[in-house]
């Protein structure tokens, strides 16, 4: 009896060998364009570089698949253009003080309330894919006071503050689908995360975004970048 299971495949296919003159143009069908705003209080570009993920600096246009918006960046992001970008299938990463921008670009999708203090916060991993690599709990490091605190959102909580903390139950990392795209938001900064487990969490977040953008699984996204989830898990476990 046949043992195969019905699946869908999204890898690039085959072309002529040797390839024709338009192979680069063909390849663009399977590649992702990533723009990153200039560093401010945060620097997600550093995380991308640590993963060998290629990206270009944001120059005011939105012709990319993924856009990473650093907290406190000097680059101007237009709320209407941002909304259009996500609505048509783009994937946006934003952190901390981009909260005002998100509230204007995606009215009603994010509800912010108050602000938090600097320090370490014990967190629970809610998302099953993240949990399968990093485990059920972690610690996130808030390097600055007055970080934007999420009350709730019209989406999925990926990481939340653990019970017994000052922010118990508050979402710290969320994913909100909007139109054909999605927005990922973290209350904490990437550059502040010092421990191996915290760094792995950020890398996983990037993979999560890429997998969402590619409409594939976390495992597939990591495979496409040559990143081993098993190796990440070992690093997270210390």
């Amino acid at each position: 009896m046949s043992g195969w299971r019905r699946r869908t495949f999204e890898s690039p296919g085959l072309t002529q060998a040797p390839p024709g003159p338009y192979v680069a143009k063909l390849a663009r069908r399977w590649s992702r364009t990533i723009y990153v705003t200039s560093p401010g209080y945060d620097n997600i570009g550093k995380v991308l570089r640590s993963m060998s993920v290629e990206f270009e600096p944001f120059k005011g246009a939105y012709g990319c698949d993924l856009l990473f918006a650093n907290c406190g960046s000097g680059d101007y992001l237009d709320p209407a253009s941002l909304q259009q970008f996500v609505r048509t299938g783009g994937c946006l990463y934003a952190s901390d003080l981009t909260s005002d921008l998100l509230s204007r670009a995606f009215p009603g999708m994010f509800r912010f309330g108050g602000s938090g203090s600097a320090g370490k916060v014990a967190a629970k991993i809610v998302d099953a894919e993240l949990r399968s690599v990093i485990g059920h709990s972690t610690t996130v490091h808030f390097d600055m006071d007055a970080w934007a605190m999420l009350d709730s959102c019209q989406g999925e909580t990926l990481v939340k503050a653990a019970p017994g903390t000052a922010y118990a139950g508050r979402p710290l990392m969320v994913e909100v689908e909007f139109g054909k795209g999605a927005v990922f938001y973290t209350s904490f900064h990437n550059r502040a995360q010092a421990s191996a487990q915290e760094k792995v969490l950020l890398q996983l977040l990037v993979l999560k975004q890429i997998s969402t953008s590619s409409k594939t699984t976390l495992a597939k996204a990591s495979q496409s970048l040559g990143i081993s989830l098993t190796a990440l898990k070992k690093r997270a476990d210390g």
């Binding site: 009896m1 019905r6 890898s11 690039p12 296919g13 085959l14 072309t15 002529q16 060998a17 495979q223």
Partner: protein, 536 residues
């Protein structure tokens, strides 16, 4: 020991037809015999009716029950083989494979006299024009029914194998096989009792059922001339009346093979209406269908590079619908010789039985070759290869290629590696394909087969049969060669192997066949069929 049994295992050939099915074997004396169904008949309608308690009734009783209660009956299921056509009947989820499995279970159980689960090895016949999906689905149906499927055999080949045994001569033969639901035409050479297919072609949805529908339309039109509109509406709106009329139509079609005129009577609540149909009516209504079969014959002769009048020794007609009288004169005019009607309902099952015993290497097969050799007085020379077949692939098979020579970067096409009518088994390896993106970790391999009457590179003229992914490629530049090997087995089943030569490692191609159930679904259906009570 019951006929056809070999070391405790029954060996049978099964003609799993669109409208009717037949089981045959070779007995201990070497005679090819048809095994009776539950009613003692040779031919079993391929119809399943599900009773309220879930019992599956197969055969003549199912035909009548389905006519009255079509929601709980299934007919012509063979036309859905190889398609995603789930059926929900009496709360159970069925597929074409599971319904076919129920038919097979009942056929085998009645033929062998054994309960379900007894060891039975079989060859199941399929239309020559069946592609990879339909063949996989047919084999899956056999396995779900608990049968040991030794192989699949093309119906015209089976018929020719039977004909070759009877004639005992080396011939070039054209088989015209018009079954209940499909049409196949095949050119083959019979030599020493073995059959070598030269070319094959056909139509997936042209058969006796279409002839019935055309005649039914004629009858309805004439009924409309006799009945007031409200009474005609009563007929068309009454399931039982329509069912009676459908059965009457089929009977009329059969009768028109032996007489020129036939009356069909329809009872409405207030009157009896009688419609007269003639053989000429049938010929006129079905003329375009018969023309289509002639076009396909032309095509298969071109593919075989043969002249029909000069190179074909015999034309044999098989399949119940080949009895339609208008067909023989058409073929005579076309090919210059009178076709022979060769045991049209049973020849396919008998040929399959010979093939099954040949594959199983039974004592009955040895007895058969000895018996035939004696009867032909040839000392065994003419039948030394009885049961052996060399078939061809009915459709070209190839790989989907993203075109890096196209300036738009958007074009894809199918590059055929195995041509239509290539002798089977076939194996072709190509090294002219490569990766598109630098460092891509996996590559998608999509296998397509020709969907239209002639091979074409355009994707829309092909249909996908396998889809898979070769993983673990490592850091390779764009354009790195991926070696693709396509293997087609003797029974037309397809396998594809992809290999990355730089690493030298064999890489696993995970593949699935579209339109065919996957492993977990096959397991579910096997349980479902095993738990279903089946009777004839």
């Amino acid at each position: 020991m019951r006929a056809g049994q070999n070391q405790g295992r029954h060996v049978v050939g099964i003609d799993l037809g669109t409208t009717n099915s037949v089981v045959a074997t070779v007995d201990d004396s070497g005679a090819v015999v048809v095994l009776p169904n539950a009613s003692g008949g040779e031919i079993t309608p391929s119809v399943v009716y599900f009773e309220p308690d879930g019992t599956a009734v197969v055969g003549e009783e199912a035909v009548h029950a389905t006519a009255i209660d079509p929601e709980n009956g299934v007919q012509l299921i063979k036309r859905a083989m190889g398609t995603d056509s789930p059926l929900r009947i009496r709360g159970e989820r069925h597929t074409p494979e599971s319904v076919s499995a129920l038919i097979l279970r009942q056929l085998v159980s009645a033929a062998t006299g054994e309960p379900a689960g007894a060891p039975v090895s079989t060859v199941i016949t399929v239309p020559a024009y069946f592609g990879a999906r339909e063949r996989e689905a047919t084999k899956a149906a056999g396995e779900i029914a608990g049968l040991d499927v030794l192989g699949l055999l093309d119906e015209p080949v089976a018929a020719a194998a039977h004909y070759g045994l009877l004639s005992g001569r080396d011939r070039t033969v054209l088989v015209y096989d018009l079954g209940g639901g499909t049409f196949d035409t095949t050119v083959l050479r019979i030599s020493g009792g073995a059959v070598d297919v030269v070319a094959t072609d056909g139509h997936h949805s042209l058969g006796g059922a279409d002839v019935d529908q055309r005649l039914f339309d004629v009858i309805m039109e004439r009924l409309g001339d006799q009945l007031p509109a409200d009474e005609l509406d009563q007929v068309t709106g009454d399931r039982a009346m329509l069912a009676d009329l459908a059965l009457g139509t089929e009977a009329a079609k059969k009768d028109l093979s032996v007489r020129t005129t036939r009356q069909v009577t329809v009872r409405t609540p207030t009157r009896r209406a009688t419609v007269t149909v003639t053989r000429a009516d049938l010929d006129t209504a079905c003329g375009d269908l018969f023309d289509t079969t002639a076009e396909i014959i032309d095509r298969v002769l071109r593919a075989a590079k043969l002249d029909g009048r000069r190179d074909i020794d015999d034309v044999i007609m098989v399949g119940g619908s080949s009895r339609i009288l208008a067909l023989s004169p058409r073929l005579t005019a076309m090919l210059g010789k009178t076709p022979q009607l060769s045991d049209p309902d049973l020849a396919v099952a008998k040929g399959a039985a010979v093939r099954a015993h040949h594959l199983a290497g039974t004592a009955q097969y040895r007895a058969l070759t000895a018996t035939v050799a004696r009867s032909l007085g040839s000392g065994g020379a003419t039948v030394r290869r009885a049961g052996q077949v060399v078939t061809v692939t009915p459709r070209a098979v190839g790989i989907l290629i993203e075109d890096s020579f196209d300036p738009s970067g958007q074009r894809s096409f199918v590059e055929h590696l195995v041509a239509a009518n290539a002798p089977l088994p076939a194996e072709v390896t190509a090294t002219r394909f490569g990766t598109i993106v630098a460092n891509q970790q996996s590559v998608r391999v999509q296998v397509y087969e020709q969907a239209g009457p002639v091979p074409s590179v355009e994707t829309e003229h092909n249909r996908r049969v396998l889809d898979g992914e070769l993983t673990g490629l490592g850091a390779l530049p764009a354009g790195s060669v991926i070696t693709i090997t396509i293997r087609i087995a003797a029974d037309g089943r397809l396998a594809v192997i992809a290999h990355e030569p730089q690493s030298g490692s064999e890489l696993v191609l995970e593949a699935y066949v579209e339109g065919v159930i996957d492993g977990p679904e096959a397991e579910r259906l096997t349980r479902l069929v095993a738990l279903t009570k089946v009777r004839g």
